[in-house]
Symmetry: C2
Subunit: 416 residues, 2 copies
């Protein structure tokens, strides 16, 4: 095929409209788009039409300079990319834009392009023909706390429609910095992961509520979502000078999210959906900043949550010294009490994200706090890490009843 392509190139420009047959279009391309495409060794070729531009680059983690062809299209083939989902952008003469050849995904506060490099374990987040599928529904609701309309997405398991009296436990699942309520269902493939887990019996049927981490009261700053072209970057070292150029982790408090969640979101969900009540049927998890938010919300409300998951984000920092009396505001000071309340404390991370989370997990273990440590091999601070975290976390949920149910089960077991 390559030789044919070279001949075609000598004779016409048709070749540029066709990909090398070894290079498969990314699953996230718009219909018919041959580029970007991915080679078996995970290199990717990008193509951008910008006939009058002086300089065009692809930014996917690092930058790749593109070369202009005779037809005005710029192309580049990268070095091998890490497996999984990546945001990327195109820089055209200094302007940061999305590649018009792909669907776009909300991250870093704007609609990025996306590319999917198939992973060896792609099966767990793929659609399968022969099993039932749940729904992801858009749910609008008005928040009394923020005084605004909000939107979340709600996954209901495959039997939700047909089992019209069954009630289900609920996992509240948060995105990361600069993302929104669409993240888990679009980048995260939450419904396919759960459909597969439920069909194989690995996870219990559950409802998953995916809300927007951004919840500010009137007058509070929403600066955490600022994308970098919205305003000049603040001076280095000041609040908001980190990721995104404006706003950033420094500007994040989370205070109003917890308030909004407890006042507006949970009551709306429990009124609207067939939900099992109580802390033993309520889990919360999130990725990155959403993991930080999860720990803030749950650790100060252990009467309301029995399952906690941090995917590349928690209260523990990534290298901070652990002190049971002060770390996470002393939430781990009484290990016995904590272990009695929290059925699963889950800490997930990509292997390329550094040792902080593993260290935190080990420190917790040494302090007597039961916890699960999960590491995604070969991935960094990206969505394949979090898909794998969910795939490991969800089967652990809602397996245990309350303490009294446990006692009853133990009694039954010994009496039989």
């Amino acid at each position: 095929m390559r030789s044919i392509c070279v001949l075609a190139f000598l004779g016409s420009s048709l070749c540029w409209g066709q990909a090398d047959t070894d290079c498969k279009p990314s699953a996230l391309n718009i219909p018919e788009a041959k580029y970007p495409c991915v080679y078996p060794d995970n290199r990717a070729t990008f193509r951008v039409l910008a006939p009058e531009a002086q300089s065009v680059k692809i930014r996917i983690g690092k930058g790749f300079d593109m070369t202009k062809g005779a037809d005005g299209a710029w192309t580049v083939t990268t070095t091998p990319l890490v497996v999984g989902f990546h945001y990327y952008s195109v820089q055209i003469d200094g302007a940061t834009t999305a590649d018009p050849s792909t669907m776009t995904f909300f991250g870093s506060g704007w609609q990025n392009s996306g590319i999917e490099i198939p992973a060896p374990d792609v099966d767990f987040y793929s659609a399968k023909t022969d099993l039932p599928h749940g729904h992801v529904s858009q749910q609008r609701y008005f928040s009394k706390v923020t005084e605004k309309w909000r939107r979340c997405f709600v996954y209901t398991p495959p039997d939700y429609e047909t089992s019209s009296k069954t009630r289900y436990p609920v996992l509240y699942l948060l995105h990361g910095w600069g993302e929104d309520e669409t993240g888990w269902y679009r980048q995260g493939r939450v419904d396919l992961i759960m459909d597969n887990l439920i069909a194989s019996g690995k996870a219990k049927p559950m409802i998953i509520v995916m809300d927007n981490l951004n919840a500010v009261k009137p007058g509070e700053s929403a600066a955490i979502f600022g994308a970098r072209w919205l305003a000049p970057a603040p001076p280095p070292g000041t609040a908001g000078s980190g990721r995104g150029g404006r706003g950033g982790l420094a500007g994040f408090t989370g205070a109003s999210f917890t308030d909004m969640m407890l006042t507006d979101l949970i009551p709306m969900v429990e009124k609207t959906y067939r939900v099992l009540p109580g802390r033993d049927n309520r889990a919360m998890a999130g990725l990155s900043m959403g993991g930080m938010q999860t720990f803030r919300t749950t650790l100060s409300n252990l009467d309301k949550f029995a399952y906690i998951g941090g995917f590349s984000g928690s209260c523990g920092g990534r290298g901070a010294t652990f002190d049971a009396k002060t770390t996470c505001d002393g939430a781990f000071a009484d290990a016995a009490a904590f272990n009695k309340k929290v059925k699963v404390l889950f800490l997930g991370i990509g292997s390329e994200e550094g040792p902080g989370t593993k260290n935190f997990s080990e420190a917790l273990t040494q302090a007597g706090i039961h916890n699960v440590y999960f590491e995604s091999p070969g991935t960094a601070h990206e969505w394949l890490t979090w898909r794998r975290c969910l795939n490991d976390f969800a089967p652990r949920l809602f397996r245990q009843g309350s303490e009294s149910q446990h006692a009853a089960r133990r009694q039954n077991a010994s009496g039989e």
Copy 2:
């Protein structure tokens, strides 16, 4: 505020990060983005960061050249824009891209930017605090006809979850050329329109299924979706040289959509949702190419559909001579039989789209075919036309029972 802004401009570049207070950010901007913004007279100001570009334009119907400021940002204020939703793009040194300051919307085969110019009748497609809201759910299903996974979105009315035994009639609703199954729920605001109609008692509660018009069997061409940067444009006058540069209406057959809809989609919907059976509880409508598809599907399957809507699209063409024996393959040749079967035949159009649809409606009326003509004032071939069409069409649906029910009602009425 303007004078303050001028002073700030003389002293610093801060002013460029703030909009004139008369210019309100478009409702479709990413969080925090002040631009594009809309003035009370419907002019809009756009701002794009492209520090090294030689030429930047906004394309919103026509082109507006932007001017570069001292901070590297290009700006332009347009002439007054038509009310409603508009796709738009940014041209940076010859490259067509989305504006990174807005959410993106799938149209013309790619993820365009969008801007919303508030209409005088904005109320009918706005969220309201004090009424119940339905859901829009993502539904995956496998098509035996196309041999691929497909996705549709399904609107269920507010009482669907709580009235667990009620069954509902169904409207199948299609997008237009280059759009997809997200069009009606994102650009069209279908859920808000229906929530408002149902709450006010104007429309009956119904399920609305929004699928993707693109349905090809293995080996068939999917060229209708090609965006213009995917390949060099074909020579003028050849098939596919129209809108989009590649593919286009000329390449559209629709044959496999009808097959797929009858074989896969309708059975899946009737198995998955609580649906009232039969043609009297089944409507189909679509916009533009989706209207053409609607007429193709329904007119050849009148045993399955009793309500038909074409929003800026039908089988009638826009200026073609009407002949009851041949127009639309002779579907209107027997007016009495047609009127008995079809409860509502709806033809909607924007007032700026030319007289073709009105002429078609009048020709139908002269041929004895009952039909409803609706005209959206001041709008062209865009989404506000179609939001208004739905708002007028939906209240007309499922009001009439079957002929025998009619006869029974007439008897009852005369007997009392």
